[in-house]
Amino acid sequence: MYDFTPMIDSITGYLNGVFTPFWAGLISMVMLGVVLLTVYAVLGLYLVFAERKICARMQNRLGPNRVGPFGLFQTIADLIKLLLKELIFIKNADNFLFNIAPFIVIIASIMAIGSIPFAKGLQAIDLNIGVLYILAISSMGVIGILIAGWASNSKYSVIGAMRSGAQVISYELSVGLALLCIIVYAGSMQFSEIIASQEDGWWIFKGHIPAFIAFVIYLIAGTAETNRGPFDLAEAESELTAGFHTEYSGIKFAFFFLAEYMNMFVIAAIATTLFLGGWLPFHLFQWAGFNHVMDYIPPVFWFFAKTAFVIYLMMWFKWTFPRLRIDQLLALEWKYLLPINLINLILISFLTLMQWHF
Amino acid sequence: MQTEQLTSLITALVPDQKPGISKQYPEFIIPADKVNSLARELKNNNETLMDYLFCLTAVDRKDGFHVVYHMTSSVFRHTLVLRVVLADKVNPSVPTVSDVWRAAEWYEREVFDLFGIRFENHPNLKRMFLDDDWVGYPLRKDYKDSFTLER
């Protein structure tokens, strides 16, 4: 049920029948690009909207409620405003790097979204090293941030960028190790196989307590990697005004803004895929009737519901906690998360070796 | 410490003190060159312990600039006012007390900024509120400002 593979196959088959293999490949790539970009834009805009609504709820406010029903078109109006705004030219900035930085950031997040499985068969590319690919790509964004900070020729920006660099390099370790726990359980780095291994239960449930610890660590480190929540030191508006994107305006600023939300989505999507069973429906052990009802809910819905839950958690952190200091941030990673993670990984390897997981 | 004891103490230290104007607090007018040593003694003397300088300001009077020091003791809670009269209105100058109370460093800078009274040996005597190239000292009574609305 709800398998997208035949649909994708028929489209590819039709293209291959009509065009030569080169043109068929090109057209399918263009189609894929258009679809991904659309998904990207819509997701980005509505994540911003969701954030504004959620934080408004937490702060006794109403949030956007003027443009469209419930303010649904507010972010679209904001996007149009940002598109029309003047791009401020900075005299002493390194112009080439200054202009290229937002694109690096946004391209990294678009590329990451390409390998995320939204439903069975609904995945742009199912790499056999999917997890590794995502880790590699999502950490490319920090290069853009570093370039942005350096090229702006602003003191606040450089501090923000350096903080961001230190932060992402540190937390990359924890993200990687937390994901490695699940890779050890699942025995594969391919997203489709990791999801297939959760047919009989999500890893967060059947992986015992170590999997849960890995999930929590992943959430913390993932939030840190997106420069969000209590870890938004790279922006830190009370210290560095806006950190690395102080000097950006108009749509270039919007790129950074959008990329931040999309990175959050990517982090949440990976958490969903690896820990919460991806697009698989929620099943309880022996309740066939219940499980059957759950099966009727489309997998895309399951995927987005789980992702939304993780995103909600991340927003909850952000609007509750004060910001950490840079040394506390690094101490948290190197003194606490990393050792816990390593021990956790050994435990999980042992559990897998003994076949003690469910 | 009572007013009489303070009077005798200050008379012992500065023989040429004069009683001041204020009726609210015990007040003494002392010569400018004694102010630093007297302040140090008042702060360190175990009977006075005037460790808290809560106000330092200047007043432009007919007989010259008055520099007024309001001090109190955080232990004994007695308050004392010292006053220095600087008859020289063109180039007024008084020793600093910023080495006795750190708070005085900025009070003195403010007084220098607005009255033009120089504090000798002050570590960082610069304009505080006004621009460095501002001409004149606004709180002096003879200050003329080109764009004052008052004619």
Partner: protein
């Protein structure tokens, strides 16, 4: 960290100087911190003020006492009421008149409401300084209640100019007592919420404990008063040392924390809100009847010099009037609390990180127009 400014060669080329301000979110106004950094570490800070210097002291020399009262609102706009009270008390002392008990009670009630409102705004902004954005809305939500009470009686919300030498501008609104009692019960329920949101938070404690330690000696030496001074164990509450208005009639505790760090300064203000509620509770039911405004022919301080100390939400406010007997003062000096509280920052924040500088300057609760006047 005894030596800071003196032993650093200012011409060192490796210095990374960042100007925080005059427009910067964490300076809460037009203040500039010339901050010298070494990586994330702050080597020294030179505060520059004067961006909002309006020459209030000079203006006062040209205005009559009731007129200059309105200028004092504009110094520490969050303690506007207490500033008015300070000038009024000083002029009243000079003239040798005493206002009725009713006026004293109402003045004190207003002063304590102002103190709570000021601390609420401080709490909100302090959370923002530390990156907890939600605090801002919680604090302002409750501050609205106080501003409503102000508005009902005085017609204005922020700068009231309600107290004049000789009494009050008008009598209080009939709803006044009821509104305050409602507020006391309301805010007693809401204050624990503040603690839940920020005080108990582990990140918040890590960020504030042991940061910016100011010893008692340092506080006295620099003249740091108010909650910032009391957070260092300095007994400097003028309400206790030299009680004025209705403070002799009420029982309350002076909140002292000896630690001297940012967390202690935070706790002092949180506890002061509880104490202010207690003071309000004692006063609100017992407002005696009496004359609201003394009938004075002319408000003129006789020749002489007068000094009045009051406790604003930020510390000791001194009003120094030199009078020649005319309708306006010959010299008016405001010893403002923020002026003295500001300059400690180089001492206690150098050696810490930039984020700590923001936390420390937040915990000193600076209101910039009060520094510059």
């Amino acid at each position: 960290m005894e030596e800071t400014l003196m032993d650093i060669d200012l011409k060192d080329k490796e210095e990374y100087i960042v100007n925080m301000g005059p427009q910067h979110p964490s300076t809460h106004g037009v203040l500039r911190f010339e901050t010298c950094l070494q990586g994330e570490k702050v080597k020294y800070i030179i505060p520059h003020c004067g961006y909002i210097h309006r020459g209030i002291e000079k203006m006062c020399e040209k205005l009559t006492y009731p007129q200059l009262l309105h200028l004092t609102d504009r110094m520490d706009y969050l303690s506007a009421h207490i500033n008015n009270e300070a000038v009024s008390l000083c002029v009243e002392n000079a003239m040798g008149i005493e206002v009725s008990d009713r006026v004293k009670y109402i003045r004190t009630i207003f002063a304590e409401l102002t103190r709570i409102a000021s601390h609420q705004l401080w709490w909100s902004a302090f959370g923002m300084d530390l990156g907890a954005l939600t605090t801002f809305f919680y604090g302002l939500r409750d501050r609205e209640k106080i501003l409503d009470i102000f508005e009902e009686t005085t017609g204005t919300r922020l700068i009231q100019s309600f107290i004049t030498p000789g009494g009050l501008m008008a009598d209080v609104h009939p709803n006044f007592q009821r509104r305050i009692k409602e507020f006391i019960t309301y805010f007693r329920k809401k204050l624990p919420e503040y603690d839940q949101l920020l005080t108990g938070n582990i990140i918040f404690r890590e960020r504030t404990k042991g940061i910016g330690v100011m010893s008692k000696e340092l506080a006295i030496d620099y003249g740091v008063t108010g909650p910032s001074g009391r957070g260092s164990g300095f007994h400097c509450d003028i309400r206790k040392i030299a009680p004025y208005s209705a403070y002799p009639f009420v029982k309350f505790n002076e909140i002292i924390f000896p630690e001297g760090d940012t967390y202690a300064r935070y706790l002092v203000r949180m506890k002061e809100m509880w104490e202010s509620l207690n003071v309000l509770e004692q006063l609100v039911d017992n407002i005696p009847q009496g004359q609201i405004m003394l009938e004075l022919k002319a408000i003129k301080a006789p020749k002489g010099e007068y000094y009045q100390r009051v406790e604003t939400a930020r510390g000791e406010l001194g009003v120094y009037i030199v009078s020649d007997g005319g309708p306006s003062p010959a010299r008016m000096k405001f010893r403002t609390p923020n002026f003295s509280n500001l300059f400690i920052i180089n001492k206690i924040a150098s050696g810490h990180k930039i984020a700590d500088l923001v936390a420390i300057s937040g915990s000193l609760d600076l209101v910039i127009p009060d520094i510059d006047r």
